[in-house]
């Protein structure tokens, strides 16, 4: 019976939890995407390795994302920067890596990063997206593994 005030009858199932956690996330895959716009900011979070550095957030329409077995267009956000920052383990941080890949695939290596962002608005691009499930204290989330040419 739906809508009962009796708590025992309104139990949340594991399927409900999974659906809620994964609801707005993109399944792992490579999707073609159209960069619709971008915003620029200076990172103000002191604990971020990018503190004080410029960062751009791309708003991307990803095409043919399989949601409930039907392909849909979904909004997706990607942070990119021209600042090449390494993580504690020595690997290049994701926004730096994606910024470099964006410059490469828009043929704007060596040009101002603003030009890279402008060119991204009119370039055919693909986004390799990974979904990492919730584990221990970490929530489920999407990672962008790569930006490539179509």
């Amino acid at each position: 019976m739906n809508g009962s005030l009796e708590p025992d009858w309104n139990a949340i199932t594991q399927a409900d939890v999974d659906a809620a956690e994964l609801g707005d996330l993109i399944p792992t895959g490579t999707y073609e995407g159209l960069v619709q716009s971008y915003t620029k900011r200076i990172v103000e979070r002191e604990e971020s390795p990018f503190f004080g550095l410029p960062m751009a957030r791309l708003t991307v329409d990803l095409f043919d994302v399989p949601i409930n077995d039907s392909p849909q267009t979904r909004k997706y956000f990607v942070d990119v920067t021209s600042a090449q920052v390494r993580q504690k383990d020595g690997r290049i941080a994701e926004p730096s890596r994606l910024g470099a890949q964006l410059a490469r695939h828009t043929n704007t290596v060596g040009k101002p990063f603003g030009e890279t962002l402008e060119t991204a608005l009119v370039t055919r691009l693909q986004f390799r997206v990974r979904l990492s499930p919730a584990r221990d204290r970490y929530e489920a989330r999407n990672w962008t593994d790569a930006i490539t040419a179509v």
Binding site: E32, L34, Q36, D61, F63, D64, T73, H105, T106, N107, V122, T123, R124, Q126, A149, V150
Partner: protein
């Protein structure tokens, strides 16, 4: 944003133009060459296919690897899925095939300057 009628008219015109381009990627390339369409690889608005369709439809057309849109980029109702042979054409052109359809660098830069 275009009215529903105008959107339907544009989409019908785009579908007809796509059919007339040919049934294989080679036919598409030959048709675009015959009609003097030139463009820039990987460019959603300035590739030869997008330019040709923009001229035919009478409105800006953008072409991704899997879809084309007429008019505004955020107007999902004005999008069509690209037939397989057109996807092949886009993929091959972006990869360097059909150099006869590629606009020379000098010309592209000139266009950029004119737009600015």
């Amino acid at each position: 944003m275009a009215s529903d009628q105008e959107r339907d008219r544009r989409l019908k015109t785009a579908k007809k133009a796509i059919k007339e381009l040919g049934h294989t990627y080679k036919e598409v390339a030959a048709t675009l060459e015959r009609r003097h369409a030139r463009g820039v690889p990987s460019h959603i608005r300035d590739c030869p296919l997008a330019r040709y369709l923009s001229d035919v439809v009478g409105a800006p057309v953008w072409v991704t690897g899997s879809a084309l849109g007429v008019g505004g980029r955020t107007d999902i109702a004005s999008m069509l899925s690209l037939p397989f042979h057109l996807r092949q054409f886009v993929y091959l052109f972006d990869g360097g095939a059909f150099p006869q359809l590629k606009e020379c660098e000098f010309f592209h830069n000139s266009n950029e300057e004119i737009r600015q």
